[in-house]
Amino acid sequence: MNDMQFLTWVRGTGLDIAVSIFLLGVIWRLFEIYSIGRKQDLAAPRSTPGASGLHTIFRRSVPPEGMMKRSPVSYIGGYVFHIGLAIVVFLFAPHILLISNLTGLSWPGLPSQFIDLITVVTMAAMVLVLFDRINKPVKRFLSTFGDWFTWTLTFLPLLTGWLSVQHLLLPYTTMLALHILSVELLLVFLPFTKLFHAFTVFGSRWYIGKINGHKGVAV
């Protein structure tokens, strides 16, 4: 298989396989989790303004009082790499083109140089949080194979994407194919690893907000 064949495969069959596993995986996992159900809360509710599932979905994005100081890398590194990822994935012109070809939806992108910068900053933030995971006793203690694996899965698309745009290390065609392949790996594993929090975070925040909202506690 030469470079062009490789690229053709990842753009065609490879992408089809990855997207199928991703979609089926997401649907299956959501079903597996939320179909378990839960018991109705029989305690008389006490309602307080601001205490609900929906409030909590938003409120939990902000660090609680005093926590920023205790773990600045988690918060700052976390914000930068999540927001950076979102910008790079959804506001880079070639990505928008791809989405537009697949779904017909389109929106304006950001200048390529700006995306370059964001990519570098995002990678730096990811390296920082990786360093924190190695360095901080609690994080190191909690870490399993899954944590290192998912970090790598998330980092590779950024790295290969940046290298292909910069025309570094490998011929453009090869690097672009590797970039697409790395994204496909990410899609395939996302539903079955901790990366699935991208979906369940909303459910989890809603539940805790709802459970506490029942008690009149705005969490």
């Binding site: 378990i36 929090h197 459970i211 969490v219």
Partner: protein
Amino acid sequence: MSASLEKGIRVLKEVIDAPMASYFSSCVHCGLCAEACLFYTETGDPKYTPIHKLEPLRRIYEQEYTLLGRLGKMVGLSKPVTDDELEEWKELVYNSCTLCGRCSAVCPVGNDIVYMVTKFREGMSASGHAPEGIIGAVNRTITIGSPMGVKLPAVKAQMKHVEEDYGLPIPLDVEGAEYMVMLSSMEIINFPEYLAAIAKIMDQAGKTWTLCSTAFEATNAGYQIGNSDLAKVLVMRIVDGAEKLKVKTVISPECGHAYSALRWNGPNVVGRPFTFKVQHIIEVLGEFQELGLLKTEGFETDKLTFHDPCQLARRGGVIKQQRNLMNMVAKNFVEMPDAGYMNWCCGGGGGASAIEEGEELRMEAFKKKKAQLDAVKPDRLVTACANCRIVLEEGLEHYQMDIPVVGLTEMIAEHIPKKGA
């Protein structure tokens, strides 16, 4: 009750629900929950990371409720939960967790870790891995009537004393009273002022109230140990008492877990909504204050601060009332850092104070409270939970800090003008 691993695992499978599945699927191992837990912050030992305290439960979730986990179990890839492992986790689930809920309050993905610990305790208890101290408290509550072995004659003796000292009647088993007042045995034995305070407050407010001879003990060790059947027996005593006396409201005493166990957990363990209201005494006082039924005179002039019981504030949503009440009778009321919703636990909630072998760790964790107190240097510390009060007194003594601890209800009652004066 005969406990076994098999039973424990069955209970653990049963308690797993959609919120827990969502929580376990959302955890990214960020470790922020550790930063919120006083057992970690004061010891620096990562094993006290709250989410880690649930590891055996997480594996059962994975092995029983996920496709990949079931496959892994079939081919022998995942480790089954064993008795030895649960025994090792006993310290993490009981001694080093007071169900204070700070971890749940800070988790960025919204995991209600404490909710899961209470569920995990059900399996721990069913598999025979609950601590002796709490087992003893449960047995005494079931057989004798209270965790400290207090029986009705002791309550009656208290009533008599209070009636003689204050000239106010203490009603017992009065049908149709508006309020049924519960006590914690800690109050019956150590803090008789509470009962006198209630009598004065109710007298001034012109409200009818009663104690109940079959349901005077409010605490629920069944809830703390994680045994729904026993928790149900204890809640039913109160439900039966309240329904027999046809009261409108049951007042949970100055005890955090009694309140959670009855107010939020009670209807769920007995399987039906209550026909009466449940309020913490601080909520009742707050209401009286708002309605103008609570009138005080004079002020405390020394420097006071307030320790929020976790189950009342963070887990119970009662935060403003105690502050309004403090300001009603105190000229120099100062707040500790993190007071209110994010207050740090005394270190002895959730049954932890009943565990003898956990005392050393408790004292270590108390350094957090010490730091909070050192920041404001109060003359006295006010709280609204008899268990917090005992634990605080122990901690203060351990660190040789001369700060008396008082209950808010009795402090308020001291400022109620004498009748006819």
